[in-house]
């Protein structure tokens, strides 16, 4: 096994990890504020990918413009879902919200199948993104580099927003203590909307990346990345944004190295590995790498 091969695997792990991290942030943002595991989050990934396809096909948008469209569509859909499905059951037991989010996921998936058919579609990126770039001894496609750069840009923007703006501070306060934040005059409804908007926009961006990397998209594509991103969020500690980012990269690297470094006959066990990791982490470190302990996990 050459150093170059290992380097290449690490690069792949970082690319995959970037996408997991973006999706995982949404899980953590939403969980941090409303204590809801939003299972429909993976389907926002699908919506992002199709929004990209639509904006390129319909208005022939250049890549950077299309990215903005995808972010906007993701944010809009996220807010819509919150308003229609989750707001009416706020305050219900957590499991109710979880079942509701499963139902929302199935609504989105079947709407997709009904309107777009389950057939996978080709996802074409501009030619200049398909070319190879040399980074030292490493040779990767421009699109992969673009994925990592875009992910880091988005995550930095989010970190700055949460850390330094007034709204960001209000959001942190709401996540810290919902009721006290309300007493302090923070508009809780708006904060929850915002969490859904930001989280979903990032997931949609991840969908665009997923489509560009694997060049095929289908209405059911979001399920597995969504689940794995949830695993990433758990690794980092659900509720912690920086934890979600870290968890995404840890999971991406672990998954790629598991497949890349072990003998090929084990590569079929990729999903087994990821979900077994989930269970082990839930048991050993229920609060994840960066999460804080909460008294109640009920």
């Amino acid at each position: 096994m050459s150093a170059g091969y290992i380097l290449e695997q690490i690069a792949n792990g970082i690319i995959l990890g970037s996408m997991y991290a973006l999706i995982a942030i949404g899980f953590s943002l939403i969980y941090g504020i409303v204590r809801l595991i939003n299972f429909a989050h993976g389907d926002i990934v699908t919506i992002g990918a199709f929004a990209m396809l639509a904006s390129v096909a319909a208005i022939d948008a250049p890549f950077p413009v299309a990215i903005v469209v995808v972010l906007a569509v993701g944010a809009g859909i996220g807010m819509l879902i919150e308003r229609i499905a989750f707001r009416p059951m706020r305050g219900a037991p957590q499991v109710t919200g979880f079942i509701a989010s499963l139902a929302v996921a199935i609504v989105i998936e079947n709407l997709g199948i009904m309107t777009l058919t389950a057939q996978p579609r080709n996802f074409i990126v501009p030619a200049y993104l398909g070319e190879f770039v040399h980074l030292g001894s490493l040779q990767i496609r421009a699109i992969d580099l673009a994925i990592v750069v875009l992910a880091i840009l988005l995550m930095t923007a989010l970190a700055l927003f949460v850390r330094f703006t007034k709204v960001g501070m209000a959001m942190r306060a709401t996540a810290e203590n919902y009721n006290v934040a309300r007493l302090m005059g923070i508009n809780i409804d708006r904060m929850i909307m915002l969490a859904f908007a930001i989280g979903s926009a990032l997931a949609a961006a991840a969908g665009l990346m997923w489509g560009s990397k694997y060049s095929q998209i289908s209405p059911l594509m979001g399920l597995i990345p969504g689940l794995k991103a949830f695993v990433a969020a758990v690794i980092g500690g659900v509720g912690s944004i920086s934890g979600a980012m870290l968890g995404g990269y840890v999971l991406g690297l672990a998954e790629v190295l598991f497949v890349g470094l072990l003998p090929p006959e084990y590569s079929g066990y990729r999903n087994v590995f990821v979900f077994a990791t989930l269970i082990v982490i839930l048991l050993v470190m229920p609060n994840g790498l960066l999460g804080r302990s909460t008294e109640e996990r009920a």
């Binding site: 199948i113 979900f275 839930l282």
Partner: protein
């Protein structure tokens, strides 16, 4: 009025059911029969999931995983020894020579599923709420991955096809009766009350000396046992079992049956299981006719959302309506209702 003996009523109802099954098996065409069998299997699944999710309040999505285990174990055991070398050349000799009758094979499938549940449950059941849900969801993917990759036993992604067509209405009916009986007995036994106590307030239950972990695992494994049996019945009804026979989507449908029926209500789970099975079956031709595949799933999901918003306790809550009394009351209400209507009209 003298209180009816529930056991007597149960046997009377079971007898009536048996007569109906006899008539159905003799007179109906195979397609309708298979739908009735699916209803029975879904009732077994929903009612058994209700032990775990409803009684004990352990929100598990793991039923498809246990069905997969049960389905494969039963299939491997009942497969004629002559076909095994062809279908599964790498099977260990001791397994390859076996050719069990259906009943012990089903029980073995159920027991293996229960064993998996007990082993997994020991660590996993420390989790609560949606953490447990997600962990059991992970279990579906783990079992799916194992079934795809252990191809010496499972024939990989192809799955085992051409299984002997052993499941008929009598098998389904028998197991359904057993499941209903066990659940009913359980709910009204001290163990069942222990489970309900854990669901309502774990800390208080522990203070009263309830052995929390043991009861939880028992409830999880018991649910898994019936899921395993149902998996075996299913596999021998469609004569096929693959790693993706029982998916996460199916877990959702089962949870829907339990939630819509009312968490903890056996009657509710059974009724909704039957209604949903028939509804999906009726919607299939409609779906094909309009060409809108997925619309039945969509309707189901929207219905769930509406129930969660407007009737969060489900159809029956935890209660078991006494059907006879219920019908009587309903009739009474109908009469007064029409009476008052008439007055208003005047």
């Amino acid at each position: 009025m003298e209180r009816r003996s529930p056991l007597l009523a149960y046997f009377a109802a079971a007898l009536v059911g048996a007569v109906l099954v006899y008539i159905a098996s003799a007179g109906l065409d195979p397609y309708i029969l298979s739908i009735i069998a699916f209803i029975g299997i879904n009732v077994i699944l929903a009612v058994s999931l209700n032990i775990t999710n409803g009684f004990t309040g352990l929100f598990s999505l793991g039923h498809p995983a246990f069905m997969t285990v049960g389905g494969y174990v039963t299939a491997i055991l009942t497969l004629p020894a002559a076909r095994k070398p062809h279908l599964l050349p790498d099977l260990p000799a001791w397994l390859a020579q076996m050719n069990w009758p259906f009943l012990p094979a089903l029980v073995a499938g159920g027991l293996c599923a229960a064993l998996v549940a007990a082993v997994v449950g020991f660590p996993v059941l420390r989790l609560r709420g949606h953490y447990l849900a997600v962990a059991t969801l992970g279990l579906i993917f783990i079992i799916q991955g194992l079934a795809t990759n252990l191809d010496g036993y499972t024939r990989g992604a192809l799955g085992l096809n051409g299984l002997p067509e052993l499941t008929n209405l009598w098998w389904v009916y028998g197991w359904m009766l057993l499941t209903l009986y066990v659940c009913w007995k359980l709910k009204h036994s001290s163990l069942g009350r222990t489970m309900l106590a854990i669901r309502e307030n774990e800390l208080a239950a522990a203070c009263l000396g309830v052995k929390i972990t043991r009861t939880r695992i028992l409830s999880f494994a018991l649910g898994a046992f019936f899921a395993g049996v149902a998996g075996g019945l299913w596999a021998h009804l469609v004569t096929l079992v693959t790693p993706t026979s029982f998916t996460f989507l199916f877990a959702f449908q089962l949870v829907v049956m339990v939630v819509l029926g009312g968490t903890g209500s056996i009657t509710g789970a059974a009724l909704i299981a039957a209604i949903l099975t028939v509804a999906t079956e009726l919607l299939h031709p409609v779906e094909e006719a309009v060409g809108l595949y997925g619309s039945s799933q969509l309707l189901l999901a929207v219905a769930v959302l509406l129930v969660l918003i407007y009737r969060p306790k489900g159809l029956f809550g935890t209660a078991e309506p006494d059907l006879f009394a219920w019908i009587g009351k309903w009739q009474g209400r109908q009469q007064t209702h029409s009476g008052s209507k008439r007055q208003r009209e005047v």
